[in-house]
């Protein structure tokens, strides 16, 4: 088991290095760079000599391999450099933007999971076939709603028309309601869809008939036997949902005007703010690695058969 964990950490480090290298090379390959975009802007009215001096100051005139090495060395020491566009250290940007995004993403995921389960149970247990069918088609509808539009509609209805929650100067609780909903609805949809499918499949298996034959109620079977077996595919896509959460956060944060990683990512991309982007790539890669590790560790708890496989690998 220790070896397995060491292996996983080794893999994680390789993933991080590859992600860093790939993003570094891609950013170099793009036309233009942050310094060009910011200082070549006619607004600044700088002469070519002045821009050349600024380049030297930022170390952008150094050869590629030296910039690569420098950046890694600085990263290892916990320094992510300066955001050319915002004019503050990247560390400061992350310190202000990471916690709100994590909170938004965690709550969004939580609400999405709750919604997905409610919907899946309702779609499976509802009394009439037509109602079950109707509920089962809801996720497809929810997936096709653009997050951007959803956010604006929620604001227009709940904040501007019904005046239930202010969007400007809300308290800490109010500030979360609409953004969390905006983020949760599109994520709940695929989760619910998979859960419904998975519940259907498991229900069709022989052991369910056996349990029913022994006199268990439909609901009881669902809780005790089916759910546990249906959870696995849901857990597997949790890793993928992390990406969805980040993407949703970009839109949600922009629409609601709240700070967060999504918003600084969007700005860093449009300004090719290399230092910021590389820090974000590393963070995102780290997030994926941790979530996948967690999924791998939790899965055997749900399905003991997987434990043997993991053991055999190690």
């Amino acid at each position: 088991m220790t070896r397995a964990v060491a292996n996983r950490i080794g893999q994680a480090l390789i993933v991080l290095l590859l992600a860093f290298t790939a993003s570094f090379l891609l950013l170099q390959a793009l036309p233009g760079d942050a310094i060009l975009i910011k200082y070549q802007n006619p607004e600044m009215g700088l002469s070519p000599e002045q821009i050349a001096e600024i380049r030297i100051l930022y170390g952008a005139d150094a050869p590629l391999w030296a910039q690569y090495g420098n950046t890694i060395w600085n990263f290892l020491q916990g320094s992510f450099g300066y955001s050319v566009q915002a004019g503050v250290p990247v560390n400061t940007l992350l310190a202000t933007n990471l916690p709100p995004t994590l909170r938004l993403a965690a709550l969004g995921l939580l609400v999405a999971v709750v919604l997905a389960f409610c919907l899946a149970f309702a779609a499976t247990l509802a009394p009439f076939r037509w109602l079950r069918n109707l509920l089962a088609t809801l996720p497809a509808l929810m997936i096709s709603v653009p997050v951007f539009w959803l956010g604006i509609m929620l604001i227009q209805i709940f904040s501007f028309r019904l005046r239930l929650v202010p969007i400007i100067n809300p308290n800490e609780f109010q500030a979360l309601i609409l953004p969390v909903l905006t983020l949760a609805l599109p994520i709940a949809a695929p989760l619910a869809q998979i859960l419904i499918r998975s519940l259907d499949e498991v229900e069709a298996q022989p052991f369910v008939s056996v349990a029913r034959a022994k006199g268990a109620t439909r609901r009881g079977v669902l809780w005790r036997h089916v759910l546990r077996n249906a959870l696995l595919p849901v857990l597997t896509i949790a890793g993928l949902l992390f990406g969805e959460l980040l993407a949703g956060a970009v839109v949600t944060e922009t629409v609601f005007g709240i700070n967060g990683l999504g918003r600084i990512t969007e700005q860093a991309v449009s300004n090719q703010d290399t230092a910021v982007l590389q820090a974000i790539v590393i963070l995102a890669a780290l997030g994926f690695v941790i979530i996948n590790l967690a999924v791998d560790l939790i899965a055997p708890l749900i399905d003991p058969r997987l434990n043997r496989k993991l053991g055999a690998d190690a």
């Binding site: 233009g32 802007n41 607004e43 070519p48 955001s83 940007l93 202000t96 400007i168 005007g257």
Partner: protein
């Protein structure tokens, strides 16, 4: 409501479209930066937005030598920065040394508004003298612009990289930065002991407002919705098509002119497709600015009638040179040898008359404007592609006259120097001349450059304005630019927000602002 007595107190909730960036005052050209800097910093002089005269502010009086190479300013007594340090000759000298010369070690670029700067001398604690390498007649006005906001010397001792943090900007203004959530919101509070507003303002003493809250709200519909729902008091950047719904509900549109070089389509004559004067003149004649202004903009966007705005210093009315005349356009293109091909696009020597332009994100509805222009040019057989590349490609391609034969350019500054700023090769270099931003450029117009330099260094004001007129005539005779409209900054405010004022280039000042009881 104007006759009511101002009420003291309250917080103005101001929704801003974009977060501020570096707050080094010379970087105040960026609208969000200037909206903050104007409240927290003071300037040596105050440019009266109505008369455009330069009036005393932190400087009580000044003397300029005959050839405008030496400026002596006498400073007001008792002015302090918000950290308690005195705003004296020492501080002013340090500010302008950095503005005029930059600081390589700390990374400060040179301010655009200041030309030919040599050095400063502290004569006594209240007197400072500036020396210039060549005549600098624009310097007096340059001491009044956002970019010359005075900051405590401790600010300029920090690396340029880190000045995006607004709490580090210590000025002597009527408001002080209290706190900020980077990229999201910024809180200013009034300075109780403020007693040095521009002398010619009726209002003296501290600001009426207790506080200003800036909240970055990128989404247009959310900004407008929040204003109309009573959650905000004042918002920046209203699109022309949103103006009617704001006014319909009794809210006010505030628009102010940026009073400089207009929103122009500028040609890069190095590109062989537009190097022929007749082609550029034909495209000028093919441009229907009336249609553009009426279709895309509103009454707050005056149609341009010269290179600079009608409200700018030295403006001459040249609308005769800008007449819309499709027949003339076609005739000139025929004369220049461009023949309509099978697809309707003109050709010459196997080459199509196909141009491209990048939309300019900071300018209002730039994309829609160029698309309409593209339709107008298509009627005379010229194709204009409107590109929306990412910032990186756009920044690179704009430096290549072959990729972008047309570019959108404007500058706001209420001094004739503004024309030089836009066109001179070592400034913004809109035409991409030799010696400017494009290292590979070979084209230049020495006559134009000589004229621009003369504007920036002519000490006689009357002559200077005359030269400014000549430059406008020259630019249009050469058809280097097609003026489209005079760019305003458009804001909207709740009806109870009084005393909003704008400086000479449309930057808001909230020193006089007060909130009537609702």
């Amino acid at each position: 409501m104007a006759q009511e007595a101002p009420v003291q107190g309250g917080t103005l909730v101001y929704l801003e479209q974009q977060p501020h960036t570096n707050l080094y005052p010379p970087a105040g050209g960026f609208y969000p930066n200037s909206g903050i800097l104007n409240q927290i910093t003071d300037k040596l002089t105050w440019q009266n937005p109505e008369t455009l005269e330069i009036e005393p502010w932190i400087a009580e009086s000044w003397e300029i030598n005959a050839d405008a190479t030496q400026y002596t300013f006498k400073l007001r007594q008792g002015v302090t920065f918000s950290d308690g340090t005195p705003l004296d000759a020492e501080a002013v000298a340090k500010n302008f040394d950095v503005f005029g010369l930059g600081d390589k070690e700390l990374g400060y670029p040179i301010a655009e508004a200041i030309n030919n700067y040599d050095h400063s001398e502290v004569v006594d604690p209240q007197t400072v003298k500036f020396f210039f390498k060549a005549p600098a007649p624009g310097f007096l006005q340059a001491t009044s612009v956002i970019g010359s906001g005075l900051v405590a010397t401790s600010v300029l001792a920090q690396p340029y990289n880190e000045l995006g943090d607004a709490t580090k900007i210590i000025g002597s203004g009527a408001f002080v930065v209290e706190s900020e959530v980077l990229g999201q919101s910024l809180n200013l509070k009034a300075r109780e002991d403020y007693a040095w507003g521009p002398v010619n303002l009726e209002h003296q003493g501290r600001a009426y407002l207790d506080a200003i809250q800036y909240i970055v709200t990128p989404e247009d519909s959310v900004r407008i919705g929040a204003l109309l729902a009573g959650q905000a008091d004042f918002i920046r950047q209203i699109q022309a098509y949103d103006e009617p719904q704001v006014e319909a509900q009794g809210y006010l549109i505030h628009s102010a002119s940026t009073r400089g070089v207009n929103n122009n389509a500028v040609f890069r004559p190095e590109n062989p497709l537009v190097s022929d004067l007749r082609v550029r003149q034909a495209l000028t004649a093919a441009t229907n600015t009336d249609e553009i202004v009426q279709t895309i903009y509103s009454a707050h966007y005056p149609k341009a009638s010269s290179v600079i705005a009608a409200t700018a210093l030295g403006y001459v009315d040249l609308h005769d040179k800008l007449a819309f005349d499709q027949d003339r356009a076609k005739a000139m293109l025929d004369e220049a040898g461009w023949v309509q091909g099978a697809d309707g696009i003109r050709e010459k020597d196997g080459q199509k008359l196909e141009l491209s332009v990048y939309e300019s994100l900071p300018q209002p509805q730039s994309r829609a404007m160029f698309q309409l222009l593209s339709q107008q040019w298509a009627q005379v057989g010229v194709k204009l592609n409107v590109l929306a590349g990412d910032a990186g490609s756009a920044a690179v391609d704009r430096l290549d006259p072959l990729k972008t034969p047309v570019v959108s350019a404007m500058v706001g500054r209420a001094d004739p120097d503004v024309i030089k700023s836009n066109f001179y090769p070592t400034n913004r270099d809109a035409l991409l001349q030799k010696g400017g931003l494009n290292a590979a450029a070979t084209w230049e117009d020495p006559a134009l450059n000589e004229l621009l330099l003369a504007i920036a260094s002519e000490p006689d004001n009357a002559k200077r304005l005359e030269l400014t007129g000549e430059a406008q005539v020259y630019l249009l005779d050469q058809a280097y630019v097609i003026p489209i409209f005079e760019e305003p900054q458009v804001f909207a405010g709740a009806p109870y927000v009084n005393g909003i004022s704008f400086d000479a280039v449309a930057r808001p000042s909230f020193y006089n602002t007060w909130l009537a009881p609702r």
